[in-house]
Amino acid sequence: MMTTRILEWLGRLYIWLLLAFLYLPIIIMALMSFNVSPFYQLPFEWTTEWYASLWQNDQLILATWNSIEIAVITTIICVVLGSAASLALYRHEFRGKKFLQALLFPPIAIPWLITGTAMLIFFFGVGIGRGLFAILLGHVALALPYVIVVVSARLQTFAPELEEAARSLGANQWQVTNRVTLPWIMPGVIAGGLFAFAVSFDQFVVSYFLATPGQTTLPVEIYAAIRKGFTPEINAVSTIIIVVSMALMLLTARFFKFGGEK
């Protein structure tokens, strides 16, 4: 009786420690973005001046828009190509399929530093060079395997008789996919899309290799800014991004019921 209670208490403590470990740095950063002192000095004095000066920082705002644009386009491309590839791998048997599927995994494990170097050399070789378009291509290549892996995992739970039943009722391939298969794999497609967005939006290493001074993304811009000298504007922009991405995640989890099938 006594031991169960102690264990229960320890368990709760553990959860709180874990959450603190995850969120404390973020919370402190968010608080400091509202603090007057640029040097983390206490006592805490409320201000929104860093957010105001962030609004004036054209370079940071441009980089943010670049990041969002690239992440959104990457997500759309990866979701469409990745879902189509997953469906093809699920439906058809062809020579070299196993080999092709096995080749999808190594890019996830290869260090981004190496992928980035390889891409830089390759893009120069074929004449694409550096810039936003090169970054977009790089992000699509990085994120695509994630989408295929997640959507394929979802497809493993799909009953193939459902497609057969739809065909027996006169549905053509397009109708079968749209009305029967896609609704079933939608949670996988959404999760894959979130992965793709995160891979692109968080991407630093590959973007750093492919960015040029005018054409850069937010993580690269933040890194450059920190090297020049740290300002609480970075705290401010980070806080905005955290709030937006957490809201996005929570909304998705709420509406698409990951894991549970209803």
Partner: protein, 355 residues
């Protein structure tokens, strides 16, 4: 509605011959069972008729139209799958509406037809439910409504009752038969359950190793099986093997068994006789000679299984165990270990050529 003709259809998967020169004529409006053990090719045959798979050779026609290279979505068939295959993301009504909707029917037409189909399977009020909120029997009915609402030319059923428990299965057998009669659709039904095949169908085709073993009305196959396999797969049978005497056989120990009139095989060849357990009479002594039940064997009861309305006796005789089923008439029951005499008529004996 239409009949289905399968002519000389063969289909191999690698070295495995799943179907070997199968021909069956399914007449318009009939209820057919394709019966066989697993791996006999019955499901492969159904998939050829449906159009999920194409034969290597042979012809399939529906309503006189050649379809062996037409894909399933263009064949205008209705199919009920073993696990129903209801679309989980749609309501019951949307499931049933699917076939009409992909054809681009008007909304009003769809609504009327869906309601009519749901009423036919007695689920008129459950249109708004989701498949996961239904019982097994109800899902079965939805799958049936979905398959017939498009007015297909032929209805194909792949072990549709396999997932139901016994009591529900009997209900659904009656229900399925009623609906089939009501709309008069040619129905082809795959099953491995011989009782289901016997009670439901107008004709049965028995398959084994990709070949059609025998085809005909249930009574004919049960009473006049043409092979030992047909005799033992559809119902129970005692099989005696020996040399033919023309209209019967002689067992290795010299006992003669006479078969019914009309049975004729060249004397001297190997052959067997099949006798249904319920056709044999069992008694404790020979009694007076009985010309009607001319076949007689002596044996010893080794086991009795009481099943309420009848009892099954296992009788040992010359190293062979024979099965006898006796109706419960209240007469004295025989004890295990008792010596008995078995008698049955030549008319109850089917002579089968060795093969």
């Amino acid at each position: 509605m239409a009949g289905v003709q399968v002519s000389n259809v063969s289909r191999s998967f690698g070295a495995h011959k799943a179907l070997d020169d199968v021909s069956i004529d399914f007449a318009d409006g009939g209820f057919y069972a394709l019966l066989g053990p697993s791996g006999s090719g019955k499901t492969t045959l159904l998939r050829q008729i449906a159009g999920f798979d194409f034969p290597d050779s042979g012809r399939i026609s529906i309503g006189g139209e050649s379809v062996e290279r037409v894909p399933v979505e263009k064949r205008r068939i209705g199919m009920v799958f073993q696990n129903y295959a209801l679309f989980p993301n749609m309501s019951v009504a949307d499931n049933v509406a699917f076939g009409l909707s992909v054809r681009g029917e008007a909304k009003a037409v769809i609504a009327t037809e869906v309601q009519r189909a749901l009423d036919l399977v007695q689920l008129g009020k459950l249109g708004g439910r989701r498949p996961h909120q239904l019982s097994g029997g109800q899902r079965q009915r939805v799958a049936l409504a979905r398959a017939i609402v498009t007015k297909p030319r032929v209805l194909l059923l792949d072990e549709p009752l396999g997932a139901l428990d016994k009591a529900l299965r009997v209900d659904m057998q009656i229900e399925l038969k009623r609906i089939q009669r009501e709309i008069g659709i040619t129905t082809i039904f795959v099953t491995h359950d011989q009782e289901e095949a016997l009670t439901m169908s107008d004709r049965i085709g028995i398959l084994r190793d990709g070949r059609l073993v025998q085809e005909g009305p249930p009574e004919e196959i049960y009473d006049r099986p043409k092979s030992e396999f047909a005799a033992t797969f559809l119902g129970d049978a005692n099989i005696f093997r020996g040399d033919t005497t023309g209209n019967g056989i002689r067992l290795p120990d010299g006992t003669a068994i006479a078969a019914g009139a009309g049975a004729k095989l060249a004397a001297g060849a190997k052959a067997s006789c099949a006798v249904r357990p319920e056709r044999i009479r069992i008694a404790t002594d020979a009694g007076a000679p009985d010309t009607a039940n001319a076949n007689m064997l002596k044996g010893q009861v080794s086991k009795r299984i009481f099943a309420g309305n009848n009892s099954t006796y296992f009788v040992e005789r010359a190293g062979q165990t024979l099965k006898v089923i006796v109706q419960n008439t209240g007469a004295d029951r025989l004890a295990e270990g008792q010596d008995v005499v078995l008698r049955w008529s030549p008319e109850s004996t089917v002579l089968i050529a060795a093969g």
